[in-house]
Amino acid sequence: MKRIPWTVVVFAAGLVVPFLGSRFYTFVATDIVIVALFAMSLNLLLGYAGLVSFGHAAYFGIGAYTCALLMKSAGAPFLPSLLAGGLMSAAFALVFGFFCVRLTRIYFAMLTLAFAQIVWAICFKWNDVTGGEQGLPSVPYPETGWMGALPVIGDLRVADHFYLIVLVIVALCFAALRRIVDSPFGRVLTVIRDNAERAQFIGVNVRGYQLAAFVVAGFFAGISGSLFGIFNRGVFPDFAYWTKSAEPLIMAILGGMGAFWGPAVGAAAFIVLNQQITSYTQYWPFTMGAVLIVLLFVFPGGIAGTLMSLAERLRLRSIREPLVATEPGSRDAAG
């Protein structure tokens, strides 16, 4: 039996969403895809390098402001602005990370938080550039007129067109992240996570690699923030606030930080749960907390981790079963 190419299936399913004709579905799907990239970027640090960052929102926010300012105030086109958002976040990650990787564990986490709060405070107070408390409203959509001329998708709404652009960009980012974690660089990160002391003695510049991971994670968080600012039609200081840093952490734990796709699954679960629960009760944070507690104790691998071990168990059973089956012939016919 061949393995099901889940990535292709999910991407194809994502492409179908605009054709369901519901504004709401497109809205939720856009939210999920953008935030999934935010959570996946954090997991490069959390799941692969073993670094717990409490300040990842800083890079989300920096990307969002950079891209929004370029598009709104400077009238720059979408793609260069998006790239600039990612690069600006990466540059800040390089500076902040330089200091953060000099500390370990909880001290590392606290310093990332401190830098993020500084970024938030600047966004909050620098009225002339960031709009301060009021933020930057009415960030323009990218130019999607050319998509109207395309077959099949030409008749879709602007929001659907934007969603498709987001889907393609995020898919490319995921492909890049996959490449990174499967590359020798990714292996070195897992080696450091497993045993940083030993890693030094096989010639690994531990801080150097941690800093590189921090910059790469910052870049993708910046891309995610840039997209979110456009999707949200505005950028606000909250984007860099510490509660925003907690969201990708929760998503990664919810989905499973040990699996590559875990944080994306977690992001989808987080947003869908948020939508569903808030329509029944105002106690959404309470419910989310309860879900997390159950998950941490009962399914420590998160949703993706649990599904993967379940699939593994089923696969083992399907290998073993024909040996004990009484009617192997009928089973073959069924398969």
């Binding site: 499967d182 292996r187 497993d194 045993n195 030993r198 003695f201 096989i202 690994v204």
Partner: protein
């Protein structure tokens, strides 16, 4: 090959290593012995860059490496193993050794290859020479203590060292495993023209393979020489070699 000049290290007023000097020639098999707490592990940590000496110098191939970062010293050709087994316990045996090949050959910043495809042949060959081939895909943390020690040696060897520092390479091993490991060390050192510096509890092991022995006592070097000279040394006999009965 390796020269240690009067290194000294003090922790909160306690002098762990007190002006120790060593000179080890290329291809030599040298041992540092001494009772518990004599400063052997601290001396190793000073040489490999884990700790910076308060005074004194360490030269590797005539280049000053005093207080250099461990990864730099490693890349210059010094490998080490630890007294308490120190491996990447969540990775497979194969991945442990493969990772060492990747990092030591500075391929870690390569994004264009799959890490799982690199140095497969080299890794298999090295695991074969250590007798770990049948366990290549086991999670290394689940191996027996003896196998983990062998794997640690493998990680050190994958870094293609010219000099290898082994901190109690047979600690906690059964008599059979100890014997096997010593034969393995001798064979590999000969094949690769390795310089070995090791510490060891087991006197039988020390006297069977070391060409040169240095004796540490309370952080100080009290004797140095061939196994025969050391055995005949009066102070060594008094503080260490069985006169305690």
């Amino acid at each position: 090959m390796l020269q240690v000049d009067g290194v000294r290290k003090t922790f909160d007023g306690f002098t762990a290593v007190d002006g120790v000097s060593l000179a080890i020639k290329r291809g030599e098999i040298a041992a540092v012995i001494g009772p518990n707490g004599a400063g052997k592990s601290t001396l190793f940590n000073l040489i490999t860059g884990h700790l910076r000496p308060d005074t004194g110098r360490v030269l590797l191939k005539d280049r000053d490496i005093t207080g250099a970062a461990p990864h730099r010293i490693c890349l210059m050709g010094m490998g080490r193993s630890f007294q308490r087994t120190n491996i990447f316990s969540k990775l497979s045996v194969f991945e442990n050794v493969q990772a060492a090949f990747i990092t030591h050959r500075r391929r870690g910043l390569n994004f264009w290859k799959l890490s799982s495809e690199l140095y497969r042949g080299e890794t298999e060959a090295l695991l074969g020479s250590l007798g770990l081939n049948d366990k290549a895909h086991a999670v290394s943390g689940a191996l027996s203590h003896g196998n983990q020690k062998q794997l640690e040696l493998g990680i050190a060897l994958a870094c293609d060292p010219e000099i290898l520092l082994l901190d109690e390479p047979t600690a906690g091993m059964s008599a059979a495993e100890t014997h096997e490991t010593i034969r393995l060390l001798e064979r590999i050192a000969k094949e690769r023209g390795l310089t070995l510096l090791f510490t060891e509890h087991d006197m039988e092991v020390v006297f069977s393979i070391a060409q040169r022995i240095s004796v540490l006592h309370q952080g100080r070097l009290i004797a140095e020489g061939t196994p025969a000279e050391v055995q005949a040394h009066a102070e060594v006999r008094r503080v260490y070699l069985g006169e305690r009965h």
